[in-house]
């Protein structure tokens, strides 16, 4: 990408042109989501029911939180393929930690708190490792995180002896409210996602750190000569990604109380897809968290509708998902310049 195009997309993002195409570009993912929900409500009576919507939002929270982190990484021109494996690893380590710490702390909130701290530490450490290898080691992000993806996945498989690592049944009641609980009638994972999305949006769009992230993604060299601490900011984006994975895992573990070698399989692709559907540039330089959240919901609702409607042969589910993803992105591209 040349500097000139980078600047122009940047400008368009800051002040969207008032033309119809501009509005479409800015609100594209939202329009796609509304269309999808219209289709869903026509296909199935239960689609718009409060319970179904709550189910899909709650499920999407896990990928959603990971995708918020991915928005930072991608906006800075990076990429993290290791998030799915890292979720599995963090889940496994946290469960093992909680099982062994239960004797000391008892099956109460102290144990849950300790489990959350444990997963945040593991997640942040893994993110820091990725970031340092990429930035200081000068290895491409694709290679480092592809390697990390294999390493994390193998470690969890090894820890689990190929089977599953389960939270002791006596401890599950303490952790269960994190996924199944409600505050003011809203499921806890939805609230957590909302808080993280709002904080993420503010940091990325309103704070200096977020502007540095976008500047580095636009042009790393210009950012460097503008006295932006490029290396530190880039490493921090991977740490943020690691923390987001850890928070997502904290929500994931109480759901089924187990981690297996197949936990988080393909989550990295879902997270990256959500980020791009939401309008963040894969080449970096521009990102928006609200778009990412809409992207996650689009992905969540597609599979929900396919399950609810049952009108498509299950053999073809993947094809529908693929087509809708492409259309969602097609809707928001500026094609005026040919």
């Amino acid at each position: 990408m040349t500097d000139i195009t980078a600047t122009s997309t940047g400008d368009a993002a800051v002040s969207p042109s008032r033309t119809l195409a501009g509005i479409f570009e800015a609100a594209g993912p939202l329009i796609a989501l509304i269309l999808l929900m219209l289709i869903g409500s026509l296909m199935s009576d239960s689609f718009l029911g409060a319970e179904n919507l709550s189910n899909v939002f709650t499920r999407s929270a896990i990928i959603g939180i990971i995708a918020v982190g991915a928005t930072f990484v991608i906006t800075a021109g990076g990429l993290d393929l290791s998030v799915g494996s890292l979720s599995a690893l963090v889940a496994g380590v946290t469960i093992m930690f909680m099982n062994s710490a239960a004797e000391v702390l008892g099956p109460g909130w102290q144990l849950v708190a300790a489990g959350i701290v444990c997963s945040l530490v593991v997640g942040a450490a893994a993110g820091l490792l990725n970031g340092v290898m990429i930035v200081k080691g000068r290895v491409e992000a694709f290679i480092v995180t592809l390697g990390a993806m294999g390493i994390f996945r193998s470690i969890i498989t090894w820890l689990a002896d190929g089977g599953s690592i389960s939270l002791d049944f006596s401890l599950r009641d303490a952790a269960r409210p994190i996924y199944y609980g409600q505050v003011l009638g809203i499921a806890v994972p939805i609230l957590v996602l909302a808080v993280i999305a709002i904080v993420g949006e503010l940091v990325l769009r309103r704070m200096r750190f977020g502007r540095h992230v976008a500047a580095i993604g636009s042009n790393r060299h210009v950012a460097f000569y503008s006295a932006i601490p490029v290396n530190r900011v880039r490493i921090l984006t991977y740490v943020i990604q690691g923390l987001c994975v850890a928070i997502a895992t904290v929500i994931y573990v109480p759901r089924l109380g187990a981690a297996t070698p197949s936990t988080g399989l393909m989550w990295e692709l879902e997270a990256i897809a959500a980020v791009i559907i939401g309008g963040t540039a894969l080449s970096g330089g521009f990102g928006r968290i609200w778009g990412t959240i809409v992207g996650v919901l689009i992905l969540g609702f597609i599979s929900n509708i396919l399950n609810l409607a049952g009108f498509v042969s299950p053999y073809l589910n993947g094809a529908f998902q693929g087509a809708i993803i492409i259309i969602a992105v097609l809707l928001q591209r500026d094609r005026s310049q040919g």
Binding site: S46, G49, T260, S262, T263, P314
Partner: protein, 315 residues
């Protein structure tokens, strides 16, 4: 700093290379080719394979083993070619898919390698010297019989399929055939990939879509565990969940009299154990080995659950 790290790594590699001595010549080399741990069942398979190989190595030091785990049928073909390059005398193979693996195994056989197939046969008959397998059609039939007995006056059930593969098709075909002309109504079938997370999501959506569900065949114990959580969350009552394959956690539920799960279908990853042991015996003790060894897929209920319960296994 990284330059120094690089030179340390390079030096380390040289040291390791010089330490690795050429393998001592063994009387026989047995190659084992199995799928990698892509879901709980294959995880158990990997665990038992490694355990059996270690035990056999200890008992018969003159027999050597080479294990290859593959994440796809294509990779398994490559792995078998690599095993052939190591001059194996016998090949124990659990084929990912029957069709693509038939030619490479046939080629191995033509070179005089003793062939043992596990779980799935090959597309052509007469290639393998030994077959050790579970009974996949019976797996589907046992599930169908269970629901027929459970709901003699008819019932509405939903089904979760596995990972789209030949064995999944065989099981589902047998299941459908056994339910033909009965009062059991299958509302829908969706793929849940033998995975607890997918089982949870598919079950949530089934519960939204169908106001009345009497039974769920999750096809696999991992998926069943996900389904149970979804039913619990929706607070639906009187839904019977049947999984399959005999995961220890689910057998424990059956033993303890869980309100949703009162049975399981046996189809254990432990079937790799007799295959490896028999082939080892052939070379270690010259025991005459060939033919077919088929392990049944009986229904596990509270009465016989203890017989199938392995609390220490990872699956």
């Amino acid at each position: 700093m990284f330059d120094r790290l690089k030179s340390i790594l390079a030096a380390g590699a040289v040291v390791i290379a010089s330490l690795a001595t050429p393998a001592l010549a063994a009387d026989a080399v047995i190659g084992v080719s199995i799928p990698a741990a892509t879901h709980g069942w294959t995880g158990g398979l990997n665990y038992h394979t490694k355990r059996t190989i270690d035990r056999m190595k200890e008992a018969f030091p003159n027999i050597d083993f080479v294990l290859a785990t593959s994440s796809s049928a294509t990779q398994q073909v490559n792995d078998i070619e690599d095993l052939m390059a190591r001059n194996i005398n016998a090949l124990v193979v659990l084929p990912f898919e029957s069709d693509p693996l038939t030619e490479p195994v046939k080629a191995a056989k033509a070179k005089g390698v003793f062939i043992a197939t596990v779980d799935r046969g090959l597309a052509e008959e007469g290639i393998e010297d030994l077959y050790v397998g579970g009974d996949n059609p019976q797996y589907g039939t046992a599930a169908a019989e269970y629901f027929k007995k459970k709901f003699p006056d008819g019932g509405k059930i939903v089904v979760m399929r596995g990972i789209p593969t030949a064995i999944d098709n065989i099981r589902i075909d047998a299941f459908n055939a056994a339910l033909k002309d009965t009062k059991i109504e299958v509302l829908d079938m969706q793929y849940a990939n033998w995975n607890p997370d997918k089982g949870f999501e598919v079950m949530q959506d089934y519960l939204q879509r169908f106001p009345e569900i009497n039974g769920v065949w999750a096809g696999d114990d991992d998926a069943a565990l996900g389904a149970i959580e979804a039913i619990k969350q929706a607070e639906r009552k009187n839904v019977t969940v049947l999984g399959g394959s005999g995961m220890n956690k689910v057998i424990k539920l059956v033993m303890d009299g869980h309100d949703m799960v009162d049975a399981d279908i046996f189809y254990p990853p432990t079937l790799i154990i007799p295959a490896i042991e028999l082939v080892t015996m052939k070379f270690a003790t010259q025991a005459p080995i060939n033919g077919r060894y088929v392990l049944g897929s009986p229904l596990i209920t509270k009465d016989n659950a203890a017989e199938y319960y392995f609390p220490d296994a990872p699956y």
